[in-house]
């Protein structure tokens, strides 16, 4: 048997958009499994509905813009956007909620700006923000993780979930008020506004606080963190944005926590609650809308983290990742302009 010598470089084929997007979807799988385990089938119906709508809108938009369907539909970007949005919106939401969000994301935020690569804002974040400001009631009805006994969403059968999502029929044994709940962050915000202190708030609903960052939410975030580390390992993303973002949230929340532990939750709670891991690893790292220079990415992450913490703590919304990412998207070109890397050997410009 001849020993084949292949000369370097050992290429594995070009790194296409669809390969990149495929790895992002793989990275999302642990998070999806954890979310489904804690919040029930509603997570999967959200993702499936969002994906079907995304492919439909993408096809229509590409047809109208007279672009090749084969080339752009298979690049996977619509699937990633739809899946991210499907995870981010409340489980058990009616079918039209992800559809409206995906429409805003794919048609308004992507194709009207010129398609993938030309969009200044992250499509999934736009879709989420539009839903958040348009449907405040629907967007605060989060599925209750299992602690209320037999009625929690993860104990609903698949058929019952479909009934809630598509026909608005709620099983007789339960009600929408039992199935849905304010998210732990929302609850925290509301109680702090009433002037309560952290120990009292935890005392009101200790089950909801889970082990360290809110029942269900904490493990979903851990799973997303694992998926994010996979993406860094596979070199889909670099470490700069997630580290900058988580680091700035940790440092800011640690400072506030040390100053006033009665009115601020601890830093660990902050980085494992809400959508932090989804935002830090999957949304802020979008190569189109974030910075391109290495130093710029670090600044991008730090800025997104600081804004998230500020909106969470002092702003009107319980979680501010989507807003923070959009604001940083807006400043990304300027950050890039001020962080142009110097070419090796070049002298620094004289001032």
């Amino acid at each position: 048997m001849p020993f084949q010598m292949i000369a370097a470089p050992h290429l594995r084929g070009p790194n296409t958009t669809s390969k990149y997007m495929f790895k992002v979807v793989i990275g999302l799988i642990p998070g999806i499994i954890a979310a489904t385990y804690f919040f029930g089938w509603g997570v999967l119906t959200n993702i499936v509905v969002a994906n079907i709508a995304a492919l439909l809108f993408e096809t229509i938009a590409l047809k109208l813009r007279k672009h090749s369907l084969k080339k752009y539909l298979t690049d996977g970007s619509a699937i990633v956007t739809a899946t991210l949005l499907g995870i981010a919106i409340p489980q058990l939401s009616a079918w039209w909620l992800p559809v409206v969000g995906v429409f805003m994301a794919i048609v308004i935020a992507k194709h009207l700006y010129g398609g993938l690569g030309y969009n200044p804002f992250n499509p999934a974040a736009i879709g989420y923000v539009v839903l958040l400001i348009s449907f405040p009631k629907e967007m605060s009805q989060w599925a209750t993780p299992d602690w209320l006994g037999p009625v929690s969403p993860d104990k609903l059968s698949f058929a019952e979930t479909l009934g809630i999502v598509f026909c608005n029929t709620i099983p007789d044994t339960t009600s929408l008020d039992l199935l849905t709940h304010a998210s732990p962050l929302d609850f925290l915000k509301g109680q702090l506004k009433l002037g309560l202190e952290i120990p009292q708030i935890i005392g009101k609903d200790p089950e909801m606080w889970g082990s360290f960052a809110g029942k269900g939410w904490e493990w979903m975030n851990v799973a997303l963190l694992i998926g994010g580390l996979y993406m860094i390992w596979k070199k889909v993303i670099t470490w700069h944005i997630p580290v900058g973002m988580l680091g700035s949230i940790l440092i800011l929340s640690a400072i506030v926590y040390v100053i006033s532990p009665e009115t601020a939750v601890n830093p660990i709670y902050h980085i494992f609650s809400g959508g932090i891991m989804l935002g830090a690893f999957f949304i802020a790292t979008d190569p189109v809308t974030s910075c391109t220079s290495v130093k710029g990415r670090l600044f991008f992450g730090i800025g997104a983290g600081a804004l998230t913490y500020i909106i969470r703590t002092w702003g009107g919304y319980p979680d501010g990742i989507a807003f923070a990412v959009l604001l940083m998207n807006l400043s990304a070109p300027y950050i890039d302009r001020f962080t142009i890397p110097t070419i090796y050997g070049a002298k620094k410009a004289e001032k």
Binding site: I108, L112, I133, S134, F135, P136, E138
Partner: protein, 212 residues
């Protein structure tokens, strides 16, 4: 002076040189008050009245105003016209006056009016200026009302809601419910909806222009 064709003035005001869609003037009221059809109609009719009045008066005095001081003179004329219109709305449609609020006196700062005074009325005859003001005003009205109707249908699911503010109690029956049991799409009512809606209207005009 070149002979003016009324047909050309009309086409310019309504389409080719539409104040909102082409000149992008008067965007502040166009974006801020078009959350419903009735608001858009009220404000654009007030603007049209002001535009006609200021165009006619400025055209009448155009030969007596020295070029150096024309802008202050125009502004005084426009401000007087706006004050008259504002008082009329306050007298005959008080509810509408309350809804439109600050945007009624702010018509003074609407660039469409000063723009037409400077570009047209100060150089043309009274009749031509009247036609120009009327057509420009109708062009403004059509766009504002389309935007208002669009935002009202998408945001609220209704059309012509609140017409009694302008036309008295009998007009309450005009409210059409386009989409029954609609939950409302708040974004269309909020400022971002105005920007997106105006952008879509602009795109629509450009498509039509490119096709022909």
């Amino acid at each position: 002076m070149a002979k003016v064709s009324y047909k050309e003035i009309s086409i310019n005001g309504l389409w080719k040189n539409n104040p909102v869609l082409v000149q992008l003037l008067g965007l502040c009221p166009a974006l801020a008050v078009t959350a419903s059809f009735v608001n858009a109609l009220g404000l654009s009719m007030a603007t049209t009245a002001t535009l006609i009045a200021s165009n006619v008066v400025i055209s009448l005095i155009r030969n007596f105003v020295k070029s150096e001081i024309r802008i202050p003179v125009f502004i005084i004329v426009i401000a007087s016209a706006v004050t008259v219109v504002e008082l009329l709305v306050k007298a005959f449609a008080y509810d509408l006056y309350l809804v439109l609020g600050i945007f009624l006196p702010l018509i003074v700062t609407n660039c469409v009016i000063l723009g037409r005074a400077e570009a047209f009325a100060s150089k043309n005859t009274v009749v031509a200026s009247f036609v120009d003001g009327l057509m420009g005003g109708i062009g403004f009205t059509i766009i504002l009302c389309s935007l208002g109707a669009m935002r009202e249908v998408i945001g609220n699911g209704t059309l012509f809601d609140g017409m009694h503010l302008m036309f008295g109690e009998a007009a309450k029956a005009m409210t059409l419910t386009i989409i029954p049991n609609y939950k409302g799409f708040l974004l269309a009512i909020l400022p971002p909806g105005a920007f997106i809606g105006l952008g879509l209207l602009l795109a629509g005009k450009n498509i039509i222009d490119h096709r022909s």
